[in-house]
């Protein structure tokens, strides 16, 4: 059942992402709204699929790599819809829904509804750790999206491309600011996620750090994001370098998935 709902949600997601992107590029308000409506339907569908998955496996659906991608994709879509509705950052339609869609699609390629091992006594920690870490990575996905758009716009300005290309996107300052704001939300969540992960590891293995890929990649991401924050606050480094680092940091955060499927 979860798979059927997920497939329908994915179809809505793909159509919505396409319409939203076309609407943004062509300044088509109707297409944009239709895209947002379909993405909202996808959001509801993906949430329903997650609930059904939890019921089917009798466990919190955030314990495997595919589940991580599924929840992360849903979180990213949630943030996109919130951004779309509240801040009027329409250009995020070009990046966030496709990223979220790829995450959900990748998750759906795996057997997401297989049964879990029995719940552990440390289940509560696991739920808290995975939820908060995933929410943090979703916020960092917004930072990633803004950084990508920043680099596109910066490149167009440096290459002195026709103005039409530049006009589709928010101002350079806005993209830099929004990316940084998302980082300010995502970094503390990621920090708490890593810390609770260490506590969970301590409870499970009697060691705070087991040097698995799912520990190493988030740690590298954390170091990169800490570096961005330090460079910004201490040295005033913003713009292009900050954007490139935010993209790299998000890539490492995403690689946690590799550690989870191994």
């Amino acid at each position: 059942m979860a798979r059927v709902v997920l497939t329908i949600a994915l179809a809505c997601h793909a159509a919505g992402a396409g319409l939203a992107a076309i609407g943004e590029l062509r300044h088509g308000a109707i297409l944009e709204r239709a895209g947002a409506a379909l993405l909202s339907a996808a959001w509801a569908g993906e949430l329903a699929a997650l609930i059904l998955l939890g019921v089917a496996t009798d466990a919190y659906p955030l314990r495997t790599g595919p589940e991580y991608l599924l929840v992360l994709g849903w979180f990213v879509l949630t943030l996109h819809l919130a951004l779309w509705l509240r801040s009027g950052v329409r250009a995020a339609s070009l990046v966030l829904p496709p990223i979220a869609g790829i995450m959900v699609l990748s998750a759906s390629l795996f057997a997401v509804d297989r049964a879990h091992e029995p719940a552990l006594p440390t289940q509560g920690w696991l739920v808290f750790h995975t939820s908060i870490a995933t929410a943090g990575v979703a916020a960092l996905a917004v930072s990633f999206a803004m950084s990508v758009l920043f680099l596109v716009k910066e490149h167009a300005l440096k290459a002195k491309r026709p103005l039409a290309v530049l006009e589709k996107l928010p101002t350079l300052e806005a993209l830099d600011r929004l990316g940084f704001q998302a980082l300010l939300y995502g970094f503390p969540l990621l920090t708490v996620g890593i810390a609770t992960g260490m506590v969970y590891s301590g409870l499970l293995h009697d060691r705070l750090f087991v040097w698995g890929l799912k520990e190493i990649f988030p740690l590298i991401a954390w170091i990169v994001f800490a570096g961005i924050l330090w460079a910004r606050f201490a040295r005033g480094i913003t713009g292009r370098r900050s954007a490139i680092l935010a993209i790299a940091g998000f890539a490492f955060a995403l690689l946690t998935f590799v550690g989870m499927v191994r």
Partner: protein, 435 residues
């Protein structure tokens, strides 16, 4: 039927346009004189530096284009033959289309320029305050203003820069969130620099610092821009502070080097710096553009933006004209419905008259009825007429929505032998019933 008579930058030379123009203070009196000489018509006079137009509308027997031409000639002291040669006349749907085009900036010298919208709004406000407008002109101008806003938003026709100065301001707006409160440094105090600076100031740049080799000229320009002047050898610290640098000196070699800008970047904490070099030969070393967070645009780059802006405005204008057709058709449907009002009212009057006559003819046979029974007969007659007319009137209104009301209304008038002349308008349209 609306009639529009006017002259613009395409139809008349500048000296004639100057003579034909109405000062804002003259318009109320001109409207009063127009209504005095032509009867109770609705009218608006739009007079800008590039056009003078009189839009009018009246019932049958209202002034024709010839009346309006004669009025324009007489009121501006221009001979009739000259007016005849240089004015254009649009009637009915053509007048509606012309007004909508004007509001969208499609008839402007600079395609898509936005000022005309405000000028039309002002002309309408004056006409309204003078009591010169009525239901059709009210609806027409309001529709033109609303349609222009919709079309401008949908096509983005006003967005693209069409001059070097506006291209610079436009580019600045793609880098900075808001130009209000931004700071600019002007290197040079020549005419071109001043023009570009005024454009930036009009876009919100408030803090302007001017430097020039001749300090007195820097002071003069700074004073006219509400800014401040700094000596030529003391401007470098400003590079670390300002958001925009505008250069336009007559120097033979670059006056702003990569090393200078790099030094400034160290204390800018990553804030972007937009440099506009409108000098030929160039004032800024081209390699400055390679520095992180620095965006240097010279005259050629800006010209490219202008060319691209013009192309995009032309493309947007084509789209705007397509959208305009829809808006004109929508107004025409409303107008046809409005024009039907006297016919529909006459139709109801006629049939109710027939009913009344018949009741009177049978009065002696109805004499035995009680007052209550007589009231029932009257109600029955009225109700019967309303029901009989419901379908034909609905069909007539539907025909108006399709733009086919004229012939059908004529047919109705012929079949029922009615003459709508003298009927008060809107009676039937508003109430739907003749009661």
């Amino acid at each position: 039927m609306p009639t529009l008579v006017g002259m613009n930058h395409r139809s008349a030379p500048l000296d004639l346009r100057e003579r034909a123009a109405f000062a804002e203070a003259e318009i109320p009196e001109a409207l009063a004189r127009l209504r005095e000489s032509c009867g109770p018509i609705e009218a608006v006079i739009l007079s800008t530096c590039n056009r003078t137009e009189i839009l009018s509308r009246g019932d049958e027997g209202a002034p024709t284009a010839a009346h309006l031409r004669a009025f324009l000639a007489a009121s501006r002291g221009i001979d009739g033959e000259t007016v005849e040669r240089h004015v254009y006349v649009h009637e009915g749907t053509a007048a509606v289309r012309h007004l909508f085009s004007v509001a969208c900036g499609l008839d402007s010298m600079v395609l898509g320029e936005p000022q005309i919208l405000g000028q039309l709004k002002r002309a309408y406000a004056i006409a309204q305050a003078s009591g010169a407008t009525g239901p059709v002109v009210d609806r027409l101008v309001q529709h033109a203003l609303a349609a222009a806003k919709r079309i401008r938003r949908a096509t983005g026709i006003s967005r693209h820069a069409v001059s070097i100065a506006s291209a610079a301001a436009h580019l600045a707006r793609t880098i900075f969130d808001d130009l209000h409160g931004r700071s600019a440094l002007l290197l040079g105090a020549g005419k071109m620099t001043e023009l570009a600076a005024r454009h930036l100031a009009a876009s919100g740049v408030a803090d302007v610092t001017v430097t020039n080799r001749t300090y007195a000229r820097a002071e003069t320009l700074a004073a006219s821009l509400d800014g401040r002047a700094v000596p030529w050898d003391a401007y470098e610290p400003e590079l670390a502070r300002v958001d925009i640098v505008l250069t336009g000196t007559a120097a033979a070699a670059p006056v702003l080097t990569k090393a200078q800008v790099r030094r400034a970047l160290a204390s800018r904490r990553g804030r972007p710096l937009f440099i506009v070099d409108i000098a030929v030969p160039r004032d800024v070393e081209p390699s400055v553009h390679e520095l992180p967070g620095v965006y240097l645009y010279d005259v050629d780059d800006l010209q490219e933006s202008v060319d691209s802006g013009l192309t995009q405005r032309r493309r947007a204008a084509e789209e705007a004209r397509r959208l305009l057709d829809v808006e004109v058709a929508s107004f025409d449907r409303w107008r046809q419905g409005f024009d039907l009002a006297p016919t529909i009212a006459a139709l109801y009057d006629h049939l109710h008259g027939v009913g009344q006559d018949e009741i009177e003819r049978y009065a002696h046979r109805l004499a035995s009825l009680t007052p209550e029974q007589r009231a029932v007969v009257l109600d029955l007659t009225r109700s019967l007429i309303q029901k009989v007319l419901h379908v034909p009137v609905t069909s007539l209104k539907s025909a108006a929505q399709r733009g086919e009301a004229g012939a059908r209304a004529a047919l109705y008038r012929e079949i029922f032998g009615i003459d709508p002349e003298g009927r008060p308008p809107l009676r039937a349209i508003q109430g739907g019933k003749d009661d």
